[in-house]
């Protein structure tokens, strides 16, 4: 069944149309031929019967004359002629004495006739139902109603079909050639006409697909030659592509929405931070002036507290300002592993103090289009979070993976992980679980990833935090044709 289905799909509608039409023509031709041959055979049998009857009638008349005149010479001569011309094999005549008076076998003449003749003479019934069995006629010889005897005519059996029948057969063979030639031509034209609109539709769908995929359509399996199958596959492919683009479109919309949201939050916080910073400068200045005017230790202590707290608030305000002012990326081809290694180098002291090791494994030649300064900030924030989480030391593992049109980077630590209840909020601005911190670290990472058309997600939080960063491969590449060496240059 599978083979048949494959065969069905791999045969074009035109070819199938020709085959089906030829099959139909063949069936019709065979049916007509059978009817014609059957009718011809019946007609032949009927004509043969009529022919035999006419010969029998003539011979019976001649036999009647011969029996009356006792002159069998003319009858024998007639039989000889009929043997030559009409397929008469033998004629046997029996007179009313029951003696064979004429036979092709001269030895039989003068012999007593077989019982069949006697029975016939006694009852008037021939040995066969109507005295004819296709090759033999048995009939009475009479004159004026007086039965003079009987005659049996044996005809040569026709082992081969009659001339007319053979002629009909030959004509049918010629007709078959004509029908098949005309059938093939006709069915080719009809099938072409019928299949043409569908073939055109397939081409139009393909063209549309190429158009919507900007010439990058991953077309369906071309082994199918059936235009209807091609059309179905083309539609399926188009639906798949449309779904993919809708998904991407939705994702891009979400990204844009998030970026807009973050921009709004950043702008608002920047304004607040700016105003707050100015106020803090004023508070710090005023506190310094109070400290200069009063030398009382208590007041000096209060003034120091004011100064420290306002400094911390200023630092926080600076962070808000930085978040709101993340520059647009200036992308270029960069070795991702080099960026990661550079970050590890920058944080070397912190890592050592915290007893944390960094394992970065992967192809050194993996390149993506990115702004290295911004990506450095991404990995810096992730590494700092990991260091802070692993208070008793641990390991940060960085792995690289090619998947489809993406390069995935997995950053995993061996810390306590992220509690499930906050997992969905960790990338929101100002969300933090630390006593100190602005809650903008992961939000900044998220925002930078969005500006690189990438993604970041918390892939696992059970045994340590596992962040998966996803970067698009450089234009039009995928995991199959991504040549790391080629991109190094």
């Amino acid at each position: 069944m599978k083979i048949l289905r494959q065969l069905h799909e791999r045969t074009s509608i035109r070819t199938k149309g020709i085959l089906y039409m030829m099959l139909m023509i063949s069936l019709i031709y065979l049916s007509v031929s059978l009817v014609v041959l059957s009718t011809a055979r019946k007609n032949m049998a009927l004509q043969l019967r009529q022919f035999h009857d006419s010969i029998a009638e003539k011979l019976a008349g001649s036999a009647s004359d011969a029996m009356i005149s006792r002159d069998y010479g003319p009858l024998l001569e007639q039989v000889r002629q009929l043997k030559l011309t009409s397929g008469v094999k033998n004629v046997t005549a029996v007179d009313r004495r029951g003696i064979i008076v004429l036979s092709g076998n001269l030895r039989e003449i003068g012999q007593t006739a077989p019982d069949a003749y006697k029975r016939f003479q006694a009852t008037g019934l021939p040995p066969q139902d109507d005295g004819y069995d296709g090759s033999r006629i048995f009939l009475p010889v009479s004159a004026g109603g007086d039965v003079l005897g009987a005659i049996r005519i044996d005809f040569a059996k026709r082992n081969r079909p009659g001339k007319e029948f053979r002629k009909t057969r030959v004509e049918l063979v010629y007709l078959s050639f004509l029908i098949f030639a005309a059938g093939i031509g006709g069915s080719f034209i009809v099938s072409s006409i019928l299949a043409k609109p569908m073939a055109r539709l397939v081409k139009e769908v393909e063209a549309f697909e190429k158009e919507i995929t900007f010439g990058d359509a991953n077309l369906y399996d071309r082994s199918a030659r059936d235009e209807s199958v091609q059309l179905r596959q083309a539609f399926q492919q188009m639906i798949g592509n449309l779904k993919k683009y809708l998904k991407e479109f939705r994702k891009m919309s979400e990204e844009k929405e998030k970026l807009t949201c973050m921009a709004a939050v950043g702008q608002m916080s920047a304004q607040i931070a700016h105003e707050m910073r100015n106020s803090l400068y004023a508070i710090r200045g005023a506190a310094s002036e109070i400290g200069k005017a009063n030398s009382q230790p208590e007041i000096k202590e209060y003034i120091d507290i004011i100064k420290d707290e306002s400094l911390e608030m200023m630092i926080m305000a600076d962070e808000y300002l930085r978040f709101s002012r993340i520059p647009s990326p200036m992308p270029r081809l960069c070795h991702l592993k080099e960026i990661v290694d550079k970050v590890a180098e920058l944080l070397e002291t912190d890592l050592e103090e915290a007893g944390v090791k960094v394992k970065s494994a992967g192809a050194p030649g993996m390149q993506i289009m990115c702004d290295p300064a911004l990506l450095k900030q991404v990995f810096m924030n992730l590494f700092i979070n990991a260091i802070q989480a692993m208070t008793g030391g641990g390991t940060i593992t960085v792995e690289y993976e090619l998947s489809g049109e993406w390069l995935r980077v997995h950053v995993m630590d061996t810390g306590p992980g992220v509690p499930e209840k906050i997992a969905s909020s960790i990338f929101q601005p100002f969300f933090t679980t630390k006593n100190e911190g602005s809650g903008l670290g992961l939000a900044t990472v998220y925002k930078i990833m969005l500006t690189h058309h990438g993604e970041i997600r918390l892939a696992g939080s059970g045994k340590g935090a596992h962040f998966e960063l996803q970067f698009p491969l450089p234009g039009g590449m995928n995991s199959r044709n991504y040549k790391t060496e080629g991109l190094e240059n």
């Binding site: 005149s69 006792r70 002159d71 069998y72 010479g73 003319p74 024998l76 001569e77 007179d95 004495r97 003696i99 064979i100 008076v101 004429l102 001269l106 030895r107 003449i109 003068g110």
Partner: protein, 289 residues
Amino acid sequence: MDRYFSLLKRFFLLSAMFVLVAAPPAFAKRKLTLLLMPLDSPSVMYGRFLPFKRYLETRLGIPVELRVAKKRSEIITSLEKGEADLAFLCPSLYCQASKLMPIVPLAKLRVNGSSVYRSVILVRNDSGIKKVSDLFGRTFVYGRYYCPGSGLLPDFILRKAGISKGDFMDVVRLGSDESAVLAVMARLFDATGVSEETAKPYLDKGLRVIGVSLPISQYLFAARGGLDGRLLREVEKAMLLVNSLKNPEDVLGGIEPGADGLSRVRDKDYDLVRALLKKDREEKGMSNP
């Protein structure tokens, strides 16, 4: 004057030579007519003699027309009136014709190498008749009675055995020798008389011979007496030359089964037939044929 006489003599001599050379041969008739006895239907007879007609035309260089007489007497009258030039005759008809008009025998038929033939009396094997004299009180059937082989000669055999037609219980004449033979085979009659050649195919089919006649000369070709002598010789020569053919049967086979040549013939070859005819007439109490 002598010179004039000499020139005149030369002129007449040359003229005579011119006439002799330029005139057509005396036998150069426009065509010859060959008349046939009605031994079978006209179309069958025509077909049987057609190869011989063509042979003669080729040999003589003049057309030969075939005609089939409606009855025997027509042959004699046609020859007498000059309506036919040649005829194919049975011995008795030849004898009759030779009595009435000048007729020239040209060649007689040779069948299976023999220029003479005999007749036989046939009975069924199981009939119980042993000899011709046993036919007394029985039934007899003739075939083509007017031919010597089926009439004259069987009568001669019967007469020799002391049997006349009146001694039979029933005597019938049928249209052909074959009909007569079939009638005996079918037990319709006790005996028949036919030529030996006619009887041959039936001898192993239940018939046997109980009497044989004297041999007489075969059927012959003859010409009317008034035909040009040179032409007669040429026709006779052409007929006899048929024997020089590689297969004379191809030309003559149709005339009579087994015919394989033509033999030189003389009128006296038929004297025996004449004698038998005379005897027959005497028995019937006739003075003229």
